[in-house]
Symmetry: C2
Subunit: 348 residues, 2 copies
């Protein structure tokens, strides 16, 4: 086999997800020939070490993408809107971690465990789904395949790192202030672009992203619409309530589903999920084994536990799904897409 | 009207709920003639100030209840099992905040906004429901009455104060340790009587109380069974996933319901809840108004917001319910029961 390597760019290299992308590329020993670290003008000049070598972050411009084969974007929707087409124009395939292109019918929205084959339809841009969506569909896909899926009701328990490094800093500052009996300042969460800001320390805030006209937040609508697109199930009933917690990293989800075919036992479902790609089953109530943010952080897998039958509906099940929102929810899924592109001979 | 006052005992006066009971009795200016503060042997001797007067906490024994008319118990199930019958034997009415008698068919389980009339059937002991159950049924009762209720799926976001003062202390110690980069010690949560203990600081733990044979925790089964009993709806479909958060006080709940009669608009439901007893509507997405633990703490009401129609089922609705677990969830509901007993001429 030929020793092939690729020219890779990471856009938003200094952000919470960008840092994880570099760590993941390193850990996976991704075949990088040339690496470009790009960012906004503000962060340009930052020095970052990758595989023992020091890189200087450059400002991302259209010309930055000359010669780049894969560009991993995670620098906000407006940057992707502006620069992803420029990267494609210069021959790169873009894996975009923002919401800018996710619902574009021309853009595949991919979670490799679920719809890797959709990559074959790409026209230059591939979208990485929302963090909370990714971990949920990884756990639901095996159930859909075996029993059919009718309805999904999810309540999320989301970590602040999903809102970036500023949000993590704010949570820590507020926590320290409260423990010291000082006043709390809120300037970032629940949503930096919204009018009001609320305390996240020792609190649970039922708003992630902006409210839409139907009363759902954009985060909730992302989970609803992206789940249908990834699973190719326009008819799937999905509802979401998204809540931000004082957790640094690791999203948890309480999920109720109704399948088409009812009657499967919990044991059967556990066996199915234990052998499913990307899933680690952690479900042993007798020994208090269940997924938690604190134990999922730093790991690539999606952890599933607390699987129970609904006590009333024969096709109803409850479960608890946890994953590192910066890894499977963002960086790892993006790198995994790049690996799938290589595997499917879609890269260069 | 005669100026009547009553002889009151508070059992568990030094605990998290006991302290709130005294505060609530004071604030409500409950007509107390004589007040007895009782506790375990360990806490006996503690001095507590009530309405400017100092009381010494005494060890609770059967004879402590001589002459007592109302005894508010919140000292754990085993204390209630042992002493509540003794109090009744001596002529007291017991309002018990533990789970000891809740499912006893002879014992009314009461949330005054929902089933105050059940008090008339009491045989000495009245049970105060589980904190997470109380706030949910206050919000659901008006919907049940107007539209009929078919199914309830709840995911909770519960505060550590529900597990007592030790749990609050543990959360604060762990939080400080993590912020200082020190090792975390876990000895109380998720459940002091269970084998393993996990970090609650910056985490979300999907276990409250012990696991039952069906895979649900006892807390989840309490919510399921108590809701049916309080609402007199054995046939109601209820499922719960109960999760502990690093929040000091204030339980939040993400609730999905299906009504019998569908089609009601969100505006109609908001109007209904805004005029329902014990409920404060906080639901204005345009102005980021929704309930939160941080703003509900210290208040007696149940706060409801984020009301949305399910996007697929005409009889499906989602909402977010928050209340102070030590007040409406415990102390305030207990004192409210005592007030109802006076109102219904059931006391003395």
């Amino acid at each position: 086999m030929q020793n092939v390597s690729y020219s890779v760019a990471v856009v938003g290299a200094t952000g919470a997800v960008g840092q994880q992308m570099l760590k993941t590329l390193e850990e996976r020993d991704f075949p990088i020939g040339q690496l470009k670290l790009l960012s906004s003008k503000r962060s340009a000049g930052t020095k970052i070490t990758f595989k023992g070598e020091e890189y200087t972050v450059e400002e991302a411009t259209p010309d930055s993408f000359e010669g780049v084969q894969v560009a991993l974007f995670s620098a906000g929707g407006s940057v992707s809107k502006k620069l992803a087409p420029e990267a494609v124009k210069r021959g790169a395939i873009v894996v975009d971690n923002t919401s800018a292109y996710r619902m574009d019918p021309e853009v595949p929205l991919v979670v490799p465990e679920v719809n890797e084959a959709d990559l074959k339809e790409h026209k230059g841009i591939i979208a990485n789904p929302n963090c909370s969506t990714i971990q949920m569909v990884v756990a639901l896909e095996p159930l859909r395949e075996k029993y059919g899926l009718k309805k999904v009701v999810v309540s999320t328990y989301q970590a602040v790192s999903g809102a970036g490094l500023e949000a993590i800093e704010e949570m820590k500052q507020q926590t320290t202030a409260i423990l010291n009996g000082e006043e709390v300042k809120a300037e970032v969460l629940p949503c930096s672009g919204d009018k009001k800001h609320y305390q996240i320390a020792f609190n649970a805030v039922p708003q992630i992203d902006l409210f839409q006209e139907n009363g759902y937040t954009f985060e909730e609508m992302k989970m609803i619409n992206e789940t249908k697109k990834i699973m190719h199930m326009e008819q799937l009933e999905v509802a979401a309530t998204c809540v931000r917690l004082p957790v640094e990293t690791g999203h948890s989800e309480s999920v109720y589903i109704e399948t088409d075919k009812g009657g499967a036992s919990v044991t059967e479902i556990k066996e199915l999920l234990a052998s499913s790609p990307g899933v680690t089953l952690q479900d042993d109530p007798d020994n208090q084994i269940y997924p938690m943010a604190s134990t999922a952080v730093g790991k690539n897998d999606v952890f599933v536990g607390r699987i129970r039958r609904d006590l009333d509906r024969d096709n109803g099940y409850h479960m608890w799904i946890v994953s590192d929102n910066l890894l499977k929810g963002a960086a790892w899924n993006s790198v995994q897409i790049a690996e799938s592109l290589i595997k499917l001979n879609l890269l260069g």
